[in-house]
């Protein structure tokens, strides 16, 4: 749940990068940290374990400037993707305002994507949130591996697998090179701020 400080005209929201293990959630945040220096507030914190697997979460605070006279801050988080860290994922998801679901384009990761999306739906539900209603963007990551001749699913197939009914905005991406990373974040922020706009009834606030 975003925090709206009326006195300070400040709003702070939370976006979580979700997805199966090794799909590139941390790589997304690392690219954002490197490429959006102006907007990044402070350091990126990664709590990882052997083999660079995220253990608890990654955290990156950003300052997005002013919207309707309010300073907008966003906290970007990633969750640990490995199946066994279910409780940690749920804990990190608490208070989420927007979600980026990072799917792995590698053919061999097809079922992991589906299982992770199901896990997201279940965890959101436990917080009383609906996957169809929450600001959600899907990213088809690792598209670059296609050029290396690796078996990669087509975007159409991934859309059918993951986005047939959700119909969330989706982007092909390569987090290592940064392709699609910015677009994904921008779209998620747009949806999140639109949702907060409705939630806080900003237009009424302006009239008042």
């Amino acid at each position: 749940m975003a925090i709206f400080n009326i006195k300070k005209r400040e709003i702070e929201c939370k976006v979580v990068y979700y997805g199966p293990g090794r799909c590139g959630k941390t790589t997304n945040l690392e690219y954002i940290f490197k490429s959006y220096k102006k907007q990044v507030e402070g350091e990126m914190v990664s709590i990882n374990t052997e083999g660079d697997r995220t253990l608890f979460f990654d955290f990156l605070p950003m300052e997005l400037g002013k919207i309707k006279g309010c300073d907008v801050r966003v906290q970007l988080f990633t969750v640990p993707g490995q199946v066994q860290y279910s409780s940690t994922r749920k804990l990190v998801l608490k208070g989420v305002d927007g979600v980026v679901f990072v799917a792995d384009s590698l053919d061999v990761r097809r079922e992991k994507n589906m299982t992770s999306l199901k896990d997201l739906q279940k965890n959101l539900k436990e917080y009383g949130l609906n996957i169809f209603k929450i600001p959600l963007v899907i990213q088809y990551n690792k598209r670059d591996l296609q050029d290396e001749g690796l078996p990669v699913m087509s975007v159409e197939k991934m859309e059918k697998d993951l986005n047939r009914q959700l119909k969330a905005p989706s982007f092909a991406a390569s987090a290592v090179s940064g392709d699609g990373v910015g677009k994904t974040l921008q779209e998620c922020m747009k949806l999140t701020l639109q949702a907060l706009h409705r939630q806080f009834n900003w237009s009424k606030e302006d009239n008042g």
């Binding site: 052997e50 697997r53 608890f56 860290y85 199901k118 690796l150």
Partner: protein, 333 residues
Amino acid sequence: MNKRIKTLLKQAEVYKKQGLLEDAKVEYKIVAKLIQNSENIQNKDKLLSAVSKKIAALARHAEVVASAPTTPEMSEHVNVLIKKLFSFSKDNKNVSKEEADLEGAIALAKFGQFDAALKEFERLLSSASARLPAAKNILRCHVTVDSSDLAFAQLDRWKSEDLFSTEQNETLRTFLEGLLEKKKIKKGPKPAEVPSPEKEEDAVGGQPPEPETITEEDEEAEDISEIENEKDDSDEEFLDISAVAINFDSGPHAGEQVELDVSFQSGNIISLIISSKDESLVKNLKVGSKLDDVHFYSPIAIFRGSGIVSAMTKIASGPKQGDYSLDIKIESI
């Protein structure tokens, strides 16, 4: 053959680089099988030995990953951050500072930072409003790290210090016993007798142990000991399935994928209608038939799983007369 092997080896290397160790292992195993079954490859033994070494190296790497600590001790900086990021009430003016601090301390415990969490809970014992929940969480931390003796010693100490009322001491004792029962840990020495007042109906007393709640939304209902190594719930509710695609590996439809809409679902049983025109399909789907490769279409995604034909009835009346109603019990999804 050589080209295929080279492709597989390249894939295995990329998967390894990506940290997808299991997937890399699968590729290497396919390569080993191909080499074994081929009669045209020279240096067969040398190649097989090289692949075996790759598989062994992967296994060692996987072992290192699996045995890495799941809750290593974090720096002071990270612990401060955890407290700040996961005490959700800190900006709520209706919540006291102590309550927000308690929330942060619980977050530390949930992330396995028990020493840091214990320090915070100890500090919060001085606050009247946070004292009881802090004490319960101290006990919970001790039990989680298998120090039931410490938990009982702590109870004795609080009693001797008159930190809690008689009722509160009893509540804490009941809470600890419940925790131990749940964890099935052999109990430590029994604490000094606490007079037994009528059992107080509070948030925890007599119930299976739950961490103390400080907000109405029961946010701490999750056991802090389950932070890591928790498998997905096996008894989760079933998703709504709107359609299925069955892949047949035998019978008249062998090699085909047949899509059917779900007409009704009750838990893990889904009902489908098969047109009377598809009699051959009916023959392929006898009661008891195991369907090992089924795609279940849910509102959020397609899931692959298996099922078993649990019933097949010819519809005797109505607009679907003559068609078949087929029930599939979902076995895995």
